[in-house]
């Protein structure tokens, strides 16, 4: 429903919700009030749409050398959304993968139709952060799902994200490997230790109010994601952390759903080498500046 998405984006009544970061105490109260106004407004708007269920979900799939994984993810996504009866589109942002990911994406577009599969490639590898921004510009849904295209994020969790979002009227729903039934598969003890250690350090230093900051399987309201993208400057893992930290600063609400993360079966990891060093640098930067 593009008409509604447009109305949301341009409605001046929505402007007031974006208050500056790091509010004083009185601003904090004002923000609470604004938040409840916003909620009331949203409920009315949704009721306006008659018939309900007017939501549309845009899934952003950034790919770099995911020729093997991409068709499988798309198939699972399409099945999941069809089964749950939700309107959706999949936006594939391929950064000129040498393995022919784009070619397979074109085949998928033919199979599923160009209203469901939107190809928005870029000529060269420009990085994950800008891939999200690029994809988001073409999204017509009022919700955006961000996930990896390497099958470590299973689409089956998306209906749970949606349910959680409705339940708590959250601005963001984040998948978490560190809570409840969440977990990982295919990690050795060393990788688990690093992950747990890094997570503990992050929790102590940033107290972010969400348990999985480095994960990248999340559902956002479109306007919230736009605002966050505008604010966030970091790269890689740290980018995902910054999104949550900024979201808290802006007073957005975050829900969590436990997910199982299955390490990639096909293809190679792109974030290698000095991962830990850049993670620590990013963490300390956020610690000192937010």
């Amino acid at each position: 429903m593009p008409a509604i998405a447009e109305r949301t984006a341009t409605n001046p009544a929505h402007r007031f919700r974006f208050l500056p970061a790091a509010p004083s105490v009185s601003q904090f109260r004002a923000r609470r009030l604004t938040a409840s106004c916003r909620r009331g407004f949203r409920v009315r708007r949704r009721a306006d749409m008659a018939g309900g269920g007017g939501d549309k979900f845009s899934v952003l799939l950034p790919t770099y050398n995911e020729r093997e994984n991409l068709p499988l993810v798309v198939w699972l996504l399409a099945r999941t959304f069809r089964d749950s009866g939700k309107d959706f589109e999949i936006i594939i942002i391929d950064d000129g993968s040498p393995d022919g990911t784009q070619e397979i994406a074109e085949q998928l577009e033919k199979i599923y139709g160009s209203d469901k599969i939107l190809l928005r490639p870029r000529a060269s590898k420009l990085g994950l952060g800008t891939a999200y921004i690029h994809g988001m510009k073409h999204a017509t849904g009022n919700f955006i799902v961000i996930m990896d295209a390497d099958l470590s994020h299973h689409p089956k969790f998306i209906p749970e994200f949606i349910r959680m979002q409705k339940e708590g009227n959250f601005d963001i729903v984040s998948g978490t490997r560190y809570k409840g039934n969440g977990g990982v598969y295919g990690w050795d003890l060393k990788r688990k230790l690093i992950s747990r250690g890094a997570n503990f350090l992050t929790q102590v230093l940033l107290r972010p109010g969400a348990s999985d900051l480095t994960g990248s399987f999340r559902l956002y309201r479109k306007e919230v994601l736009e605002k966050l993208m505008e604010k966030c400057v970091s790269k890689g893992y740290v980018f995902q952390m910054e999104m949550i930290v900024r979201a808290r600063q802006l007073g957005y609400t975050i829900g969590e759903v436990p997910i199982s993360f299955v390490d990639r079966v096909y293809g190679e990891s792109k974030l290698g080498g000095n991962e830990i060093v850049s993670f620590l640098k990013g963490l300390l930067t956020l610690f000192a500046t937010t």
């Binding site: 977990g183 990982v184 230790l193």
Partner: protein, 92 residues
């Protein structure tokens, strides 16, 4: 205030409270037994936090879920996806 600022504020507050009590001039000192407990307190706290950190990380490491079923299910899904996509004419 930044998180760093919050930490520094907390540390300065606690630190000065400790310094006032522990390093007061002889006339204003707390009774000896209290003072003896107070002097090494920062070290105790540091050690306690270290233990807490190790215990927490250790416990969470030991209880980190291994999602065997999720992996098995994914393999199953991959098979189904491949078969169906091939039927629809996808050339892998």
């Amino acid at each position: 205030m930044t998180k760093l600022g919050q930490w520094l504020c907390g540390l300065v507050l606690l630190g000065s409270a400790w310094a006032v009590l522990a390093l007061a001039p002889p006339g204003l000192r707390l009774p000896a037994p209290f003072r003896q407990a107070l002097l090494p307190l920062p070290v105790y706290l540091l050690v306690a936090f270290g233990c807490y950190a190790l215990a927490t990380v250790g416990f969470r490491l030991a209880t980190f879920n291994d999602c065997e079923e999720a992996a098995a299910e994914l393999r199953e899904h991959i098979r189904a996806a491949r078969a169906d996509l091939a039927r629809r004419g996808l050339r892998f």
